[in-house]
C-alpha cells in the first residue's frame, strides 16, 4: 500500500532510486504504465499478427520526436520503410516530414533467407554499426526494432543470433536508448523466439480478438520491473489520431459538480425533477420499452439545449439523421433548424459498424471536435449489446467520466424489454447514473398507455408519481395524475372513470328529480282524491238531506194524519207522540 503510493509519486516526480520513464504520449498508456516505458531500457511489445504492434511502436517514436523532443530510429525487419510510412499516414503521422527534419530515421533491414550462405563464423556487427550510425544521424533517444525476430528466418545459426541479440540489447541499454522491440506471440511463450528472456524490464502484450463479430484490441502489461503498473487487460483502439488505450478510471471521481440546472425541454418533467430540471454535467438514463417515447424525450432535450444556444451532439444508433428529424417534426420539434444553425449535430451509425471501444473512441473524437454541452446517445443499449456486463460497465464508466470531466450533460436512452429483465440488469449501470427516468407502458384493459416516472435523481427532491404522457403535435404533454379510488388510472381507464363518475352524478340528479316528481304526483293524487271524496260526500249529503227531508215530510204527514185521526177520535192532547220524531231518522241508520 505504502510502496505503491510511493512508487506512484516517484513516477511523476522522478525521485532517485526509482526507474525513470519515457512517456509514450499514447493516450491512456502512460497512465497504465505509470508514466511510460522504462527510460534507457528495452521494452518488448508482443502480440499476434495484425494486433497493432508496429502502429504502437511507431506512435511511440513519433510522439517522442514531436512531443518530447526525443528523436528516434525505426528499424524495420519486415515492412519496408515506404509501406510503414503509408500505414501510419492514416493516423496522421507524417514520417516523411519527420525524416526530412531529422527527427526520425527509418531503416529497412532486408532479410531474406535465400540470399545468404553462412560460410563460417560471423557476428551482427553490421547491424550494430548501422544502428549506431542511425542513432548518431538523428541524435536518437528512442529506438524501435520492429520484429527483430525476422532475423531468425534470415540466419540459420540460431546460437550466434541469440548471442548477438543479447549483445544488442545490452548495447542499446549501455547507450541509454529507450527501445521498443516488437515480437510475434509464440505458442506457450510470449514471443516466438523467447526474446523475453533477454529483455526483462518491461513486457507488453497486445491482443486482437473477435467477440461476436466485433473486433476488440487489448493491451496488458505483463511485466514491468521496478514499477507499479495496471494489471488488467485494457482495450485499445487504433483510431483516426493514433492509438488510445482506455483505462477504466481515466479520470476517476475528480470532476466538479455544477449546481446549474437545465430544462429537459418539457416543463412538466422539470416539475417532476424538483421543479428545476436536471443538473448540468449530470448523466441521465432514460429507459423504456420499444415505442415508449424515449427518442421523443431525447429530441425535446436536444431542442431545449439548442434553444439555449448550446451545442448538442446526438449520436443515433437506431435511426438515420433524416428519419429522426422527420419523426420529430410529427410531434412538433424542428431539429433541422438547429442542424442548419450548427448547434445540433446528429451522427447516425449502425452499432455493429464497429466494436464497442471504437464507438467509445469515436465519441471521444466527436466530442473533442464539436465541443457540445449536451450529448445524447440513442440508444445506448444498441451500442452495448456486443459486450459482456463487465465490458459494458467499463465502457460506460469511461464514457461518463469523460463527459463529466467536461461538464457535458449526457442523456442515454436505453431500450428495455417488456419483461422487465433488462430493467433489473441495468441496475449494474445505474450507480453510474445521476438521474434515471423510466418510461413505462401501462397495460390495462387491453390498451397501452405511456407513463413516466423518476426512479432516482441525485441531489434533488423529485416527484414520486407516475405521470401519464401523450405525444401530441405540439410535443410531449404530461397529463395530471388521475388518482381514483382504485389507484392511478391511465388512458381510457382514466377517461372511463371520469365518465363513470359523471354518469353517477347525473344518475343521482335524476333520482332526486324522480323522487320530486313522485312526490308531486302523489300530492296531486291526494288532492284529486280529496276532491273526489268531497264530491262523493257532498253527493251523499245531498241524498241524505233529501231523504231526511222526505222522512220529515212523511212524519209531518203521519202526525197530521194521527192528529186528524185523534181529532176524529177526540183523543187526549197529552198523548201526543213526540219521541217518534227524535228517533225517526237516527234510528234508521
Amino acid at each position: 500500500m505504502n510502496t505503491t503510493a510511493r512508487s506512484h509519486r516517484s513516477v511523476k516526480s522522478g525521485v532517485a532510486g526509482q526507474i525513470e520513464k519515457a512517456p509514450t504520449g499514447i493516450e491512456g498508456l502512460d497512465e497504465i504504465t505509470g508514466g511510460g516505458f522504462p527510460r534507457g531500457r528495452p521494452t518488448i511489445l508482443c502480440g499476434g499478427p495484425g494486433c497493432g504492434k508496429t502502429m504502437l511502436a511507431t506512435e511511440f517514436l513519433v510522439r517522442g520526436a514531436t512531443e518530447f523532443g526525443e528523436p528516434g530510429v525505426f528499424m524495420a525487419f519486415e515492412e519496408t520503410a515506404e509501406e510503414n510510412t503509408q500505414n501510419v499516414a492514416s493516423l496522421g503521422f507524417d514520417l516523411k516530414s519527420l525524416s526530412a527534419r531529422k527527427k526520425l530515421l527509418l531503416d529497412y533491414v532486408y532479410v531474406e533467407r535465400s540470399d545468404i550462405q553462412e560460410t563460417g563464423e560471423f557476428d551482427l556487427e553490421g547491424l550494430f554499426i548501422r544502428l549506431e550510425n542511425a542513432i548518431k544521424t538523428v541524435k536518437a533517444k528512442r529506438v524501435v526494432l520492429d520484429t527483430i525476430e525476422a532475423l531468425f528466418s534470415g540466419f540459420s545459426n540460431a546460437a550466434i543470433l541469440r548471442a548477438e541479440l543479447r549483445r544488442l540489447f545490452r548495447w542499446l541499454k549501455d547507450r541509454g536508448m529507450t527501445t521498443v522491440i516488437t515480437a510475434e506471440r509464440g505458442e506457450g511463450s510470449l514471443t516466438r523466439q523467447g526474446l523475453e528472456e533477454y529483455v526483462s524490464d518491461c513486457v507488453i502484450l497486445l491482443d486482437h480478438r473477435i467477440t461476436d463479430q466485433a473486433s476488440t484490441r487489448r493491451l496488458r502489461v505483463v511485466k514491468y520491473r521496478g514499477s507499479f503498473h495496471g494489471a488488467d487487460e485494457y482495450p485499445f483502439l487504433i483510431g483516426e489520431r493514433g492509438i488510445s488505450v482506455l483505462p477504466i478510471s481515466s479520470l476517476g471521481l475528480q470532476h466538479n459538480a455544477p449546481t446549474q440546472r437545465l430544462s429537459t425541454g418539457i416543463s412538466d418533467l422539470d416539475q417532476m425533477l424538483g421543479g428545476k430540471g436536471l443538473y448540468r454535467g449530470s448523466t441521465v438514463l432514460l429507459s423504456g420499452t420499444a415505442g415508449s417515447g424515449k427518442s421523443s424525450i431525447a429530441a425535446h432535450f436536444a431542442a431545449a439545449a439548442c434553444a439555449r444556444g448550446e451545442r448538442c451532439l446526438y449520436l443515433a444508433f437506431e435511426e438515420s439523421a433524416g428519419q429522426i428529424a422527420r419523426n420529430m417534426r410529427s410531434i412538433g420539434i424542428d431539429l433541422n433548424k438547429w442542424v442548419d444553425k450548427g448547434l445540433l449535430r446528429i451522427t447516425a451509425q449502425r452499432p455493429t459498424q464497429h466494436g464497442l471501444e471504437m464507438h467509445l473512441l469515436q465519441t471521444h473524437t466527436r466530442v473533442e471536435e464539436f465541443r457540445p454541452r449536451v450529448v445524447i446517445v440513442d440508444p445506448i443499449t444498441n451500442l452495448i449489446t456486443g459486450g459482456n456486463d463487465r465490458e459494458i460497465r467499463s465502457i460506460l464508466t469511461r464514457l461518463i467520466d469523460f463527459l463529466k470531466g467536461r461538464q457535458i450533460t449526457a442523456l442515454f436512452t436505453s431500450l428495455t424489454s417488456a419483461g422487465g429483465e433488462l430493467e433489473r440488469s441495468e441496475v449494474g449501470v445505474s450507480s453510474l447514473i445521476d438521474t434515471w427516468l423510466l418510461l413505462r407502458d401501462l397495460e390495462v384493459n387491453g390498451e397501452r398507455n405511456r407513463g413516466i416516472y423518476v426512479i432516482k435523481s441525485r441531489g434533488m427532491a423529485h416527484s414520486n408519481q407516475i405521470r401519464e404522457f401523450f405525444l401530441t403535435g405540439q410535443g410531449i404533454k404530461l397529463v395530471p395524475a388521475y388518482l381514483g379510488v382504485e389507484g392511478m388510472l391511465t388512458g381510457s381507464a382514466r377517461v372511463a372513470q371520469q365518465l363513470r363518475e359523471q354518469e353517477e352524478m347525473l344518475a343521482r340528479q335524476l333520482e332526486v328529480e324522480k323522487l320530486r316528481m313522485e312526490l308531486k304526483s302523489k300530492r296531486k293524487a291526494l288532492d284529486e282524491k280529496v276532491v273526489e271524496l268531497r264530491a262523493q260526500f257532498s253527493a251523499e249529503e245531498k241524498r241524505l238531506e233529501h231523504e231526511v227531508a222526505l222522512s220529515d215530510g212523511r212524519e209531518a204527514r203521519m202526525k197530521k194524519g194521527r192528529m186528524a185521526m185523534a181529532f176524529s177520535r177526540k183523543a187526549d192532547r197529552a198523548a201526543q207522540p213526540t219521541p217518534v220524531s227524535a228517533n225517526g231518522p237516527g234510528g234508521d241508520r
Binding site: Q117, E118, T119, L124, N133, A134, G154
Partner: protein, 110 residues
C-alpha cells in the same frame, strides 16, 4: 549499383568484383580475407578484384548495401549479385554461395 549486362562467357573467365565487408581488423575479418584470396587462387579466377570495406570507416554503407552480418562477401560481378556471410572457412558453402561449384554451368541465367 553498377551492373554489367549481356556478357555470357564462362564464370571463371568473367571479371570478378568481390566486396568484403568487415568491421575493423578483427580475427574473423582477417581470416575471411585470407580465405577469399586463397579461394580465388585455388579456383583459378582469371580476373578478380577484392574491395575490402571497413564499415567502421564507412558506416553509412551498412544501410546502403544492406549489411547485417560481418564478415559479408558480396559478389557484384559477374551478375547476379551474390551475398554470403561468415569467415569463408566452409569452402563448400562458399562455392555454393558464389555458384563456383559447377564450373561449366552457364551463369547469370536467373
Amino acid at each position: 549499383m553498377k551492373r554489367q549486362m549481356g556478357n555470357k562467357t564462362g564464370p571463371k573467365q568473367d571479371k570478378h568484383l568481390l566486396r568484403l565487408y568487415i568491421a575493423g581488423q578483427t580475427p574473423k575479418s582477417l581470416l575471411a580475407l585470407r580465405n577469399l584470396k586463397k579461394l580465388c587462387e585455388d579456383y583459378k579466377i582469371a580476373s578478380y578484384e577484392i574491395e575490402v570495406i571497413d564499415l567502421i570507416k564507412k558506416p553509412q554503407l551498412a544501410q546502403q548495401d544492406q549489411i547485417l552480418a560481418i564478415p559479408t562477401l558480396v559478389r557484384n560481378l559477374p551478375i547476379p549479385i551474390r551475398k554470403i556471410i561468415g569467415d569463408l572457412s566452409n569452402t563448400e558453402r562458399v562455392l555454393m554461395g558464389l555458384n563456383w561449384a559447377r564450373p561449366d554451368a552457364p551463369d547469370g541465367v536467373q
